[in-house]
Symmetry: C2
C-alpha cells in the first residue's frame, strides 16, 4: 500500500510493473529522432477515418490494442482503464475504448495525462484495489489545431514560442506483481498559475508547475537531481525548458541541467522539422515514455527516470476571455526494476 | 482496503465517511421542490462574474468552500481533490480551485462526475492512500447551452425529450475514519453505446449504462432492489427513467420501480417549471446528493441509497459528425452509518 512520503509524494512499496507498452505516431513524428522507437508509424494521418477526431480515436485505440498484445492480455483481464485527452469532452478516448467493456475512469489532465494516468494506475494497483490497469492518452495535430487554434485550411502562422502538437498515442499496462519497468513513486500535482496569458506560449505557462512538482518531489524523497538518470518533463519545449531550469535554480536552488530532458524537445528535429519551440500534446509524452523511455529502462540503459508530465488547464474560451493559464504537473518515478 | 466483490464492485471495509457536504444552486433550482435543501441559492446566476464560464467556476468554488467549512477543514488538510465538469477542458473546475494548492486529479465523466469523484475518493481513502479528499462537480445552464447547444440569445426551442441543465454545484469531503454518511461500496462503470444519435435525448442514451451498472452492482453484491431505500439515478429525466425501468425489467428481469428516483426528476417541478424531460448536468446529481440525499441519510430517514451517476460521453462535434452517444454510469452505495 502506498506510503505517503513528505507532503505530496507516494512511495509504492509493491512496485507495480509496466508489463507492456506501445506508442504509435503519425508520419512527421516517425521522421523525427525517435522514429525507429515507435511501434507503428501511420504515413496516412487520417488513419482511414473521415474526421480528425475519429483519426485520433483510431490512433488511441491502436496504442491500447498494441499495449494489450505486448502484455499478452485481453481487455477482460484488465480491471480499469485510466485515460483522457485534449479533445472537448475527451472524445479521443471515449470513442476509442467504447467497445472494450473495461471499467473506465475518465481523466482530464491536458498534456499531463500520461503521468496522471500512470500515477493513478500505480496507486490503485499498489494499493491492491485492482490488479491490472491501462494508462493511456493521445493527441493529434489536426484535431488539436482545429479545436484550439484555427482550421488547417486557414494556414495560420505560429510565433516562435508556439509548439507543435504531436500526432501520437501511448498506452501502458500496469500490473501488480508483474515483471517489467517499475513505478516506484508518484506525485499528484497542485495547480500553479503565474499569470501567463499567451496561449501561444504553453511552455512558459507550464514551467512553474513542473518547477513546483520537481522541487516538492525531491524534497519529499530526500533526493537530489543526481539520484536520477533523467528528469524528463512532458512538453515544455525549448522555451519552457529554459524557463524551468532558471526557475528551479533561482527559486529553489536546484540545478537539474545535467539530467533534464523534455519529450517535446526529443520527438522532433528542431533543425529540419520546423516545430518552433518543440512538440506538445498528451500524445507527445505518452508516446515518448511508452516507447523510448520504457524500452531504455527495460534494457537497463536507464535506471531511474523521473517523468514529470505537464498540462495547461485553460480552454480556448478562457483565453479569449483574457484569463491566464493554470497549469499542473504530475510525476512518476520509473525504475528499471528487478526484472 | 477495498475488496473486489464479483466482477466490477468494490466493497470498502473501512467505510470512509462524508464529513461535510454542500450544494449551491441558481434561482430556478432554488424555486424547485428541493429549494430549501440547498446551502445557498444565487438569485443572480451570473454570480457577479462577466462570463458564464466564470460564473460556473464561482459556483463550483462556493460549493467546495462551504463543504470545507461544514467539515471544519482548511484546504491544507485535504490530500486530494477529485473533480471535473462539462465545460471544454473542464475549466469550471480548474479555474475554481486554482488557488487552493490541493493535489488535483482532474476527471471527465460528464454528468456522472459526482459519482465518479465520490467513488475515487472512497477507494483512495479506504485504501489508506490518502486520509481526506474532496469530491466535487458543477454545471451551469447558461455555459452549457452556449457550449453544447446555442447561445441563449438565439432562443432555440427544445423537443420534449431534451433536458434542462441545472445551475448547481455539489461538493463532499470524504474522510477515512470520519463520522458521517458512509461510502459502503463503489462501482466504476463500463461504456455502453446502443446507437442513440439524438443529442436532444440524453436520457435514452444514458439509460443502458445505468441499466448495466445497476444490474452488475446487484449481482456483484448479491442484493435485490429491496435491499435499498432508494436507487437514485443521476439525470435520466422522465424519458430516460422510463426506459431504464423497461430495460431492467426486460433485459435483466429486475424491477426497481418501487425504489427508483432520479435527481433530474427531483430538482425541478414538471408542472410549473417547463423543463421538458427534467434536469441534467453534472451539478444536478451533485447538488441533490450533496444536500437532500446526504441530509436524509444523516437524519436516518434514509439508510441505504445506491447513487448511480450517469454520463453521456459525446461532444457537440461527434454528434454533428453523425456519431452515436457512448454513455457511462458509476455507482456509489451511501449508507447512514454508525455515526
Amino acid at each position: 500500500m502506498a506510503i505517503k512520503q513528505g507532503s505530496y509524494t507516494f512511495v509504492l512499496p509493491t512496485r507495480p510493473a509496466i508489463v507492456g507498452s506501445a506508442a504509435v505516431v503519425g508520419s512527421k513524428e516517425g521522421q523525427g529522432p525517435l522514429g525507429t522507437e515507435f511501434d507503428y508509424v501511420f504515413d496516412d494521418v487520417t488513419l482511414g477515418e473521415d474526421s480528425w477526431e475519429k483519426a485520433e480515436s483510431a490512433l488511441h485505440r491502436e496504442a491500447v490494442t498494441r499495449a494489450l498484445a505486448k502484455a499478452e492480455k485481453t481487455p477482460s483481464q484488465v480491471d480499469m482503464i485510466f485515460s483522457g485527452d485534449l479533445l472537448n469532452q475527451c472524445v479521443g478516448t471515449t470513442f476509442s475504448i467504447r467497445e472494450l467493456n473495461i471499467p473506465f475512469t475518465g481523466l482530464y489532465g491536458a498534456c499531463s495525462t500520461m503521468a496522471l494516468s500512470l500515477a493513478l494506475a500505480g496507486l490503485m494497483t499498489d494499493g491492491g484495489i485492482i490488479d491490472t490497469a491501462i494508462a493511456a492518452t493521445s493527441s493529434h495535430f489536426c484535431s488539436a489545431e482545429k479545436q484550439f487554434r484555427q482550421p488547417l485550411e486557414y494556414g495560420g502562422q505560429k510565433p516562435p514560442s508556439a509548439q507543435w502538437t504531436a500526432t501520437a498515442a501511448g498506452a501502458a499496462i500496469v500490473e501488480k506483481g508483474g515483471k517489467g519497468v517499475e513505478i516506484e513513486a508518484v506525485h499528484i500535482g497542485r495547480i500553479q498559475d503565474k499569470g501567463i496569458k499567451d496561449a501561444n506560449n504553453m511552455g512558459a505557462a507550464m514551467a512553474p508547475a513542473a518547477c513546483e512538482t520537481i522541487a516538492s518531489f525531491l524534497e519529499d524523497m530526500g533526493d537530489t537531481p543526481q539520484d536520477y538518470d533523467m528528469i524528463l518533463t512532458g512538453d515544455l519545449g525549448k522555451v519552457g525548458s529554459t524557463l524551468l531550469l532558471e526557475l528551479l535554480e533561482l527559486e529553489k536552488g536546484i540545478d537539474i541541467s545535467r539530467v533534464h530532458s523534455d519529450c517535446g524537445n526529443m520527438i522532433f528535429d528542431f533543425e529540419t522539422q520546423d516545430v518552433n519551440s518543440g512538440g506538445s500534446g498528451c500524445g507527445c509524452s505518452g508516446a515518448v515514455v511508452c516507447s523510448y523511455i520504457i524500452n531504455r529502462l527495460a534494457q537497463k540503459k536507464l535506471n531511474r527516470v523521473l517523468f514529470v508530465g505537464t498540462g495547461a488547464l485553460m480552454s480556448p474560451v478562457t483565453s479569449l476571455q483574457g484569463e491566464s493559464v493554470p497549469s499542473i504537473s504530475h510525476a512518476v518515478l520509473l525504475t528499471s526494476g528487478g526484472q
